[in-house]
Symmetry: C2
Subunit: 342 residues, 2 copies
Amino acid sequence: MEVTNKYIAIKAQIEGAPEESDFEVKTEHLFLSVKPGSNDIIIKNLYISIDPYQLNRMKTVSVSRSYTVGLTPGEVIDAFGVGKVIASGNSEFEKGDYVAGVISWGEYSISQGFMLRKLDPMGLPLSYHVGLLGISGLTAYAGFFEVCKPNKGEKVFVSAASGSIGNLVGQYAKQLGCYVVGCAGSTKKVNLLKEKLGFDEAFNYKEATDLDATLQRYFPDGIDIYFDNVGAEMLEAAVSNMNLRGRVAVCGAISEYTSAGKRAAPDMLNVIYKRISIQGFLVGDYMSLFPEFVSTTIDHIQRGKMHVLEDVSCGVETIPSAFAGLFRGYNVGKKIVKVSDE
Amino acid sequence: MEVTNKYIAIKAQIEGAPEESDFEVKTEHLFLSVKPGSNDIIIKNLYISIDPYQLNRMKTVSVSRSYTVGLTPGEVIDAFGVGKVIASGNSEFEKGDYVAGVISWGEYSISQGFMLRKLDPMGLPLSYHVGLLGISGLTAYAGFFEVCKPNKGEKVFVSAASGSIGNLVGQYAKQLGCYVVGCAGSTKKVNLLKEKLGFDEAFNYKEATDLDATLQRYFPDGIDIYFDNVGAEMLEAAVSNMNLRGRVAVCGAISEYTSAGKRAAPDMLNVIYKRISIQGFLVGDYMSLFPEFVSTTIDHIQRGKMHVLEDVSCGVETIPSAFAGLFRGYNVGKKIVKVSDE
């Protein structure tokens, strides 16, 4: 059977904040069968993860292009997601299997099995396997437990706290018995953090005229751990308010992605005298934690101790607006595009 | 016996780079005997360590003032050094003992034994126990081996490499079998690093118009370890040139001490994608390494594998110019003031 596969591509390399108009919907003809001897897996995409880091792959020049594969205008964009196998020449995957891993910003993906695994939905919504139990979830789990090395009772600050990773970091920290404060970009998000997700405190950074003083107010006893998703001024203010042997896990720097010159300039005297560590990390180094992460997280969810925050839009055509919206703070929780029903 | 003790004090809190005129020579009358029942130790100061970090104690407002004791105009300034006990009410110290530890910027010190230990010169010049085998040496040793966690063959960059700590870090790194490049502020220092201390390469940062490109030239395979003594632009350029899992040990930030607004703004995308760690440290956390550090270092020296770089001036009156000179790059190696012959 032949279908028309719609997919999203960049028109050109992107500098600054992405706009919907930077993307185009393209089509290609696709046979939904594999040639004899081929190793291909043809996947019907169901849910696609929409993540800020992809912007770094779309730039002309970026450090990340040396460490990930840069994206080419007009070409298919690979991304994490969940799908269903339609046809397979690969002995590890069969027609009808659910899969999670690297698929694409389109209706169908062709995979050779790279970074793809069979998925047992375990009775949970498929979308959970994109965010909560996917790369965002593992990033939060590994970043918090392995990089921050938290102790019960420590004071934890999370930026972009209603985002896909931040909301989970805050919830994991609460489960461990930490004092947790998050910042986000609207009153609605702030209320959500405090009322639904159990954060001890939250504030709207757009209303904070003096970040340093704001953090001092929310952390009268200082910050032990800062889980950084945003970079720039927030990182500086967090370092100023850190305690002895404070730890910063640098997960993302979304405020810096869209403006090349924007940088955090933390006071190194603080770093020295307070023996602060600032540690960048990527989730790919922690894949071995996956089974432990999944079982712990499902347990928290099933006992009602953690909540799932998803922001789902429907149809492959919504990918550009979903992606551009990440940089405008439009998403609440994990941004997912549902491409198709099964 | 009563003497006149000359000591150096700040006239007022200091902002910016210190000048000789910021200090004054003061005098006080001192009895060289201890009252019955007193725990005091009266020390004749012999060699005093002159260190840049002291400037952070002289400022009006500084983060370090919350973590060390700020200095008061007109008062005695405590500092690391070596002296000889003249009189003691403390059972652990006797007249005639050599001591190393916290003494003062003066001719005599009165101590209650805090941060003071009996010193066995081990047949070495007393000045060695101020720099090489003192706080500078332990800072270099602990910072390099414990914070940087180096491996043989790794590429090491050291700033302020002809300074008291930098020159030792480079020499320890060479002993371990690392590739070592240092930067310093004059041709004379650069030649010294390469010709006497065995650095693989060295460059004059004042002649480098593009630090990023300069480091790229000296580290075609990237930097694994950056031992930072200076902060600001050099830290940024080092982060840009670091390898995967690169480590920055933040020991000092001398270029930032004299101008409050000067900061390093390293690219956080580099920090994330390359999993870089930036770790501040203070030597006080590593005192337990002291015996190992001393025996290792003496062994290197006695086998001619390491060289001692000292810059000694004589007389307590030279302390202000010695100290101010640190911020102008006048010292070559460890700056020490010899206060007195025994």
